[in-house]
Point group: C2
Chain length 207, copies 2
């Protein structure tokens, strides 16, 4: 198909497609004439992945790293997950103190050497932001966070398909990144439901 | 204290403090001379909140809305939570289809009229991004997401302090926004732990 059809099929403007081509996120189409190229179904699929990542707030540089992990996957699903996380985790300031974070994630079964350091540094950064604002998380609430993320992670990892490496790659990389906005949005709905229950906010609307 | 001390106390550069003053995020200090103002402990606290929000990726416009909710809180904690969520939820495109999202959040106890529409639209947008990338969430994984966010929300809302309105406001507004990076970071650690368990990735390092 031509670039115009690729645009119609995916809803991505031609100028944006050309930008992704220049950035090397989307491979060149097959040349059919000096100024024309033909695109295949693989381009449609790739473009949809790029759009989904960009619309989830992933930067172009991070999208490139996620695509690299998809194109040239590490041998084991565990390393793949590390690559996916590394792609979307900002490089940590070297001066961040990870002691409190390590103590916290030890409750998840974390041990030194088990994960990418950047992931633990992400926990440390989040804790620092909370402390700087003078906010304290009550113990029962923190316990609920730990219990919940374990529940989530176990279900997710149990669901990693092992029938084909491609399927495992897609599941791990996209599931890790694309699910984040969903979890945050679901938490907000659940908070409003729980808040209505406790503080008798607006109930069902009148018939 | 002078602006230079305010900067030393909070680690925020003077130029940034002046930017927040111009943007109206930080109230003017008390004038002590035509070109000098004096800042109080309240400024230190406010500046820490602003920094924590900015470093959590909240935009200046959103920070302003969160501060407005802190300064002029709605009467009930339930409305306050709505205000906090509205401040950090992008205005939804009007054309987003929320039917699938409504069906999903009904499993959380959601009913029409119970929450801010933007929050349900946030779920719809997240589901759209996932679908556009051709990604499917297996049913047991989605069930784990729903169970987890309910667990989280119930613990959080049970922890809302009711002894003072100020404490409730801080807890709801900051807890809602500042905890997001923590939850995502904890999920990544938990995923790597669960992945190491399933795929026997690196275990404990050698002694």
């Amino acid at each position: 198909m031509r670039v115009s059809e690729l645009s119609t099929d995916t809803g991505v403007p031609v100028a944006t497609i050309k930008y992704y081509l220049r950035e090397g996120l989307l491979p060149e189409g097959e040349r059919t004439a000096p100024t024309q190229a033909s695109y295949a179904q693989a381009h449609v699929q790739r473009l949809r992945v790029i759009r989904a990542l960009v619309e989830s707030g992933v930067s172009i540089a991070e999208v490139r790293k996620v695509l690299d992990a998809l194109d040239d996957p590490p041998a084991s699903p565990h390393d793949l997950l590390g690559a996916a996380h590394a792609a979307v985790t900002p490089t940590s300031e070297s001066d961040i103190d990870t002691a409190a974070a390590e103590q916290l994630v030890a409750q998840l079964g974390w041990q030194p050497g088990l994960c990418d350091d950047a992931v633990v540094a992400g926990v440390a950064r989040a804790l620092k932001g909370i402390a700087q604002a003078g906010f304290e998380i009550p113990d029962p609430v923190m316990a609920a966070y730990l219990e919940s993320v374990l529940l989530i992670a176990r279900a997710e990892i149990a669901g990693v398909p092992t029938d084909s490496p491609e399927a495992a790659v897609r599941y791990v990389v996209l599931g890790s990144v694309l699910v984040e906005p969903l979890l945050l949005a679901l938490r907000r709905v659940a908070e409003q439901v729980a808040s209505a229950e406790r503080f008798s906010g607006p109930g069902a609307p009148p018939d």
